[in-house]
Amino acid sequence: MVPPYEVSVFINCPFDDDFNPFLDAILLAAVACGLDPRSPDELGPWHPKPRLERIQDLMKASKYSIHDLSRLRGEGDDNFARMNMPFELGMARGLWLSDPARDMIVLTDTTYDLPVALSDLGGLDVLPYGSDPSLMLRRLVGQFAFWPGATDIDPNRLLPLLPEVHAANGAVREEYEMRHWKKMLLAVDGIVKRRL
């Protein structure tokens, strides 16, 4: 039996409506390649453990992680920056330093902003996806091909499933008025099972 650690991938991405199509691409790519997407949301919104502890626990329990750094600019009336994603990337990098068998993928929307906003990442393999969920899916599956815990799959077989996954997860988000991690994963898992 494969230990859960070997197939677990921690998802560090924005939690907003605009990102939903991209989250769906991440979930589809991961599940189809035999990986287990993990998020602090999987324990439900009212879990008593502080969120940071949940994040730490899940990161330690996941050999892999995916970090999306597309939200680099200030947002809202107060122009706040979203610092959770870079912070969690730093946590994952710290774990990688003590265990190089771990691996991570850093995604960004455009190639131009990140070198300015986070120049410390210069020289690392950051993958841009140009605001295109299908391109993001291709990038992810391409990188998963190097992860021993993942199974190779032709992304051309996955791309037609993306609208179906988005519709199914959209229905979950509407019904629960939140991103219900378990329900979304069940939806993606069901589609992968039926269609692949």
Binding site: V31, G34, T111, V126, F146
Partner: protein, 177 residues
Amino acid sequence: MAYNEAGETAMRVFLSHLHDATSGELAFAVKDALKGVGVESVSWETFGAAEPWQSQIEKELDRCDAVVLLIEAGQRKQSRQMAEWTYIINAGWKRPELRLLPVLLDGAVAPRPFAKLQPIEGASSAPHATAARVLESIGRFEMLKSASELTKRTPQDRREWLERRALITQRIAALPD
């Protein structure tokens, strides 16, 4: 052979290598050998500074007939070459006819997707001998494995995938509602 009688370039090769001195010397020898038979080669050194390398590599891979991958032993992860490899895999899915030639240097082991191809061996201490081997393989272009190999799955692969997915399905089902 893959060049015409007039000596004009009829083939274009992308050369993927680590951005260090050892790989650089070997890459130079390979480029030189390819140039000698009229094969044009490109690699990250030929990229301009005005455009992000990610867009340049995509364009270059679209124009290439083959990719030579110089793979070093104990290659450090998180290097730019990992991203380069991802672009190469993506290009292979886009164009399954793209030929791929992994060159395992100094006893390197082929990374998982490239293990499905037909690698040759080389030594960083013998750049010219290694370049000659690359040239010989490129010369037998039709014999080189194409990117279509990357997506082939054996029945054993599928069995393992199904077993793994069954476990994940169980774990998801056990999550709190």
